[in-house]
């Protein structure tokens, strides 16, 4: 029995050694991923994109602004002057925080009236905003004391009060964040697998030779192979969404048709990427490996499992290249925030761009001959 097992063992080793790409992925990929994700993931996010809404122009206001700028938690990107501006920034996901300095704030602080400082947090991702909310009050108090020489705070009293407003998810329910995220990741996984095998399968079964000898162009083969799965993916999305609404009470605030349209786009992007892998891979095993290699950052760097804002800049750039990152903003935007196409235009364009890139690579990489 040992002889037969070792015969099999040697044969498998020989075959493995022939398949260079598989061999390389086994060595290089775990290392790359360990380094990539080890440095990128941070569950206590810093540098959260923040806007300050200035309802008055006062010295205290400016102190607060610089105080926020000095903390690691907040990255003050915008100074807004109207509610409408702030709404758009939150809906499109440009900022996660808005600190509003109300009119008459400076005067009220000096009189010791403990006025309210309004903080609007995008709670559609509760993890991202939770810890930062706590840091806000300290940061602002420190800034005011240091800069303005205001009277020292008497024990038990405050200069101001922080009025929190958790927008889009007032109860901080993680499911409202996770379920739309799952829609994106589940679709990514299934769509990639559908098409990742489509070309390699034709090659392995020998039917590619027939196909290549027929008068059909690569782009026609690609579109014909992707199209049926767009319908399959759409039904899958519908199923997840219906389950999310009825089982997990996920709200649908925005336009459902816009969601349907952008979901179709997202499905097509993933199918195109899967198809691209299929044209690059030499066999079905390689195609599957590429799919998994691609899938992991889709979960870890897209803002699905860990807050996007908490990642270092380079990791965010990788995240921006992943379709699911943009789709998560779209789904959360439409379902939880009621975002419109004007809020999500950039995300939609990004998806469209990724689709074109994937399709172009696929068509140019498609081997039209058996050379």
């Amino acid at each position: 029995m040992f002889g037969r097992v070792s015969a099999m063992f040697v044969k498998e080793l020989l075959q493995l050694q022939r398949d260079r790409i598989t061999f390389a992925t086994m060595i290089a990929i775990p290392l790359i991923q360990l380094l990539l994700f080890g440095f990128a993931i941070n569950t206590e996010p810093r540098n959260l994109p923040t806007a300050v809404l200035m309802q008055e122009d006062s010295d205290l206001g400016r102190s607060i602004l610089s105080g926020l700028r000095n903390t690691a938690y907040f990255d003050v990107r915008r100074v807004a002057h109207s509610e409408a501006e702030v709404d758009h920034m939150l809906k499109s996901g440009d900022v996660l925080f808005v600190v509003e300095i109300p009119a008459g704030f400076a005067r009220a602080v000096r009189r010791g009236e403990t006025p309210a400082l309004l903080v609007i947090a995008d709670a559609s991702d509760p993890v991202a905003t939770g810890s930062a909310l706590g840091a806000l009050e300290t940061a602002v108090t420190m800034a005011l004391l240091r800069d303005r020489g205001l009277p020292a705070v008497v024990e038990g009293t405050k200069l101001f009060e922080v009025l929190q407003h958790r927008r889009y998810n007032p109860e901080g329910s993680t499911q409202l964040n996770i379920v739309p995220g799952l829609l994106g990741t589940i679709l990514t996984m299934t769509m990639l697998i559908f098409t990742a095998l489509s070309v390699t399968r034709e090659i392995e079964r020998g039917t590619m030779e027939s196909l290549l000898s027929m008068p059909i162009r690569p782009v026609e083969i690609m579109l014909g192979k992707i199209a049926p799965y767009v319908v399959v993916g759409f039904l899958q999305a519908l199923l997840i969404l219906v389950a999310g609404v009825f089982i997990f009470d996920v709200p649908v605030i925005g336009n459902i048709w816009l969601l349907a349209l952008l979901t179709t786009l997202f499905i097509t992007v993933n199918l195109s990427i899967g198809y691209t892998f299929s044209t690059l891979a030499g066999n079905q095993l390689q195609a599957i490996q590429m799919t998994f290699m691609f899938f992991l950052p889709n979960i870890l760097l897209s803002g699905f499992m860990f807050p996007f804002a908490g990642m270092p800049r380079w990791a965010q750039w990788i995240g921006e290249a992943l379709p699911v990152t943009h789709y998560l903003r779209i789904v959360r935007g439409i379902l939880l925030k009621g975002a419109t196409l004007s809020d999500l235009g950039i995300e939609a364009l990004a998806l469209f761009g990724l689709m074109l890139v994937a399709m172009t690579i696929a068509v140019t990489r498609f081997r039209q001959t058996l050379d």
């Binding site: 039917t207 030779e209 027939s210 000898s213 027929m214 008068p215």
Partner: protein
Amino acid sequence: MNGDVVIDVQGLTKSFDGRVVVRDLSMQVKRGQIYGFLGPNGSGKTTTIRMLCGLLTPDSGHGTCLGYDIITQSVLIKRRVGYMTQRFSLWQDLSIRENLEFVARVYGLDKAKERVRTAIERLGLKGREEQLAGNLSGGWKQRLALGACTLPEPELLLLDEPTAGVDPKARREFWTEIHHLAADGLTVLVSTHYMDEAERCHEIAYIAYGRLLAQGTVDEVVAAAHLTTWTVSGEDLNELSEQLEKLPGIDMVAPFGTSLHVSGRDAEKLNRAIEPFRKDKRWRWKPDEATLEDVFIDLMSHAEDNF
């Protein structure tokens, strides 16, 4: 372009990973001909056929197929050529009808369903059209594959060992069909290992180790080889065969059933070599015509010498 020449290529060369598979190959095939393409395994037959229909790009050389350039106009060639692959390459998980309908639609044929129905009847597949192609026996698969590549009414058929692994009856029917198609004006290039099939061709070409070694009608090829052949019958043929093989002037000794074929390119030398054996009472010597097989085996042994 000469309207009667369907395939006209010069100097085709193709190598894979530094190994030359086809070397400086030139050939011409006339319209309406059945052109046999013969040669041992790995001699470059499949590679040549693939270059003709645009599936492979030659490293050097040029030529036309149906008047279109094989390098720059392969799209136009594909529309007018039916290519039957060596290994069955239709979709095993589609039915006969579904396979044929797919082909009809990719080629953009009008009245696709009707054409497919006629094709199924002509192929004698009526009643089994819903059967999956993967469940068909070798002979039926071959018939389906031929049906699929003739469906778009091509002007040229490229058949790569179409009868490998097919029983004699199916083989004969297949060749009858090929002759019908050729009679209708279709040109057929067919590669094969079988000598009886080679003799059914109007013209043949013999290729070994990437080189075209002989070309013409069967009679021309046999005559060009200048082989003198004797047939020996009697006892202890194995012993005789071993002794003869070593002698100068004898280029080939091959057993044929209960007799032996002994051939040489130089008749005088051959006769001198066999003279002592002719006196032996155990064997009966008879002058014979060289067969196509004698010629091919002889050609092949020489081609090897060149390497």
